[in-house]
């Protein structure tokens, strides 16, 4: 059979089957590796310590308890999540495939009866579960601290924040894995991940403010730019969830609430979901077809 007559075969590596019986042991291996990964442990400890520290400070600073204390603490945690979670997820994702490729483990794994897509999906699920666990531990510690000092509080706000943080982590993990597929060396991929983090967290935020001032952006465009940055979408979704006065949302958020009302939250969640799905699909297809 002539290869020329079958151009679709040329890449030849794009087998797209996904068998849960193959994915399950790969996910277990990823979780096992994550538990042994010092970086993840370090991130968990740092995130947990910062969350507990912020919870304590917000309690002392306001002298409030119950819902008011909870709201202030949640606002502090949103900023913590914005800084730490993208960094965790991007670097973990960026080193995921590239490090295994460098050590020759990926080639050995792919010489087994597995498809590349199964390996890729298993890595995403495994790392995603590990990151969600790490975030939950950090939040869990601060909730426990608050509950010990000031009663039950509004746990729903926390659950919602954990869910949104997990979504943000998945989006950043997907971007990190895309870097891991595109850039062959793990050091390059991790370096790029740090720059992407800077871009999302600082340039995205400060750049948006600067552009608004310099170009006198109308509020509609400001809202649109907030939607295309997953960290901004997370911030609007998280703050909108607990600040009934909306004074923390800023002009873009206020515009969103007034213009889209109940549809704002689905739009924000949709924007974050797109940041999970699109990079993941590009990375997955690229990994399935790219030579090792």
């Amino acid at each position: 059979m002539s290869v020329q007559s079958h151009p679709a075969q040329r890449g030849g590596l794009g087998e797209l089957s996904l068998d849960p019986r193959t994915i399950a042991p790969l996910v277990r291996k990823e979780l096992r590796d994550a538990l042994r990964n010092r970086w993840l442990l370090l991130y968990t400890l740092a995130f947990g310590a910062l969350a507990v520290g912020l919870a304590t400070l917000s309690q002392i600073g306001t002298g409030l308890s119950g819902f008011a204390g909870f709201g202030k603490m949640t606002a502090s945690l949103v900023n913590l999540v914005l800084l730490v979670v993208p960094l965790m997820a991007l670097t973990v994702g960026a080193s995921g495939l590239s490090a295994e490729r460098e050590r020759g483990m990926l080639a050995y794994l792919l010489s087994q009866p597995v498809t590349r897509l199964e390996v890729f999906v298993a890595k995403f699920i495994g790392l995603g579960l590990a990151l969600t666990g790490s975030i939950s531990i950090g939040f869990g510690l601060s909730v426990a601290l608050l509950a010990a000092h000031s009663g039950r509080g509004d746990l729903w706000v926390f659950v919602r924040l954990v869910g949104l943080s997990a979504m943000l982590a998945m989006a950043m993990l997907a971007v990190g894995m895309l870097l891991s597929v595109v850039l062959r060396r793990s050091s390059t991929a991790i370096g790029a991940a740090v720059f992407v983090w800077l871009g999302f967290v600082f340039v995205g935020d400060l750049g948006l403010m600067g552009a608004t001032v310099i170009f006198r952006l109308p509020v509609q465009q400001l809202f649109g730019l907030s939607l295309v940055n997953p960290t901004q979408a997370f911030k609007l979704a998280a703050v909108g969830g607990f600040d009934s006065t909306l004074d923390l949302l800023g002009p873009a958020g206020l515009y969103g609430v007034q213009e889209f009302g109940p549809w704002l939250m689905p739009m924000l969640l949709g924007a974050m979901a797109a940041w999970i799905v699109v990079p993941l699909m590009i990375a997955g297809l690229s990994f399935a077809r790219k030579p090792l």
Binding site: M1, V3, Q9, R10, G11, G12, L13, E15, S17, R21, T22, A24, P25, L26, K29, D33, R36, R103, G104, M105, A107, Y108, L109, L110, S111, Q112, P113, V114, T115, R289, P291, L292
Partner: protein
Amino acid sequence: MICIKGVTKRFGRFVALDNVSLDIERGQAVALWGSNGAGKTTLLRCTLGLLSFRGEVTVNGVDVRRRGKPARRLLGYVPQELAFYDDFRVAEAVAFFARLKGTDRTGCVRALQLAGLEQHRHKRVRELSGGMKQRLALGIATLTDPPILMLDEPTSNLDAAGRSELLAQLAELRGRGKTVFFTSHRPEEVEELANRVITMESGRIVSDAAPARNAGAAASPSVEVRIPHACLDQALGALRAEGFTTRLAADGAAVECRNGCNGHVSPSATEPRTEGRLP
């Protein structure tokens, strides 16, 4: 069993495989012979479906590109150097690959027995010697008792004892009817295992023949050199760096050297062996 038709693989402008075609029958033990960069490992990797290429490779009629997963179920692969999960315990590593291959506990027990690693099942992989790691890789490769074994320079990192042990295991597997497809540039390995030798050079097959007895030795002159103990390590290092295959004599002072794979030497050649002894 393995059918390779017109396979061409390029890395940028470099042509690693140039229109390679090859048929391997059931039960054959085929050695891919050639110098470094001849394309041996690339051909193995294409056969495993690890690399994209032009042409066609089928394993028992299954196209490795379209249906790589079922094709790889028919193959057991032993890499040059086992590179996986050093912090796994031996039993964990075997169990992990057994789950991937969809085999049960009996497969794990059999693999550990074949590898002779039952006593070491609780050791971490990083604690194993090079020979043990290769045996572990062989055990994992045979977990599902696949009809084909593919090995990439299986003994290149082993000492003499580890090498002969692994070769004996491979010979036994070949005797049980397995198709063995391996790369090597060690004449003694080819002599012992292969019933067909394919010589590659610059990405092309330049000869395909049955090996003559002691053909590897015949292919290149062998020289026995007496070296003082004090500089033995240094001399061995220098000879190996130059591509010589060295073998220590029983008293540890004489070194037999063959320039095994440089140039256009094939183990299927049958020139008379020359030997010499230096004072």
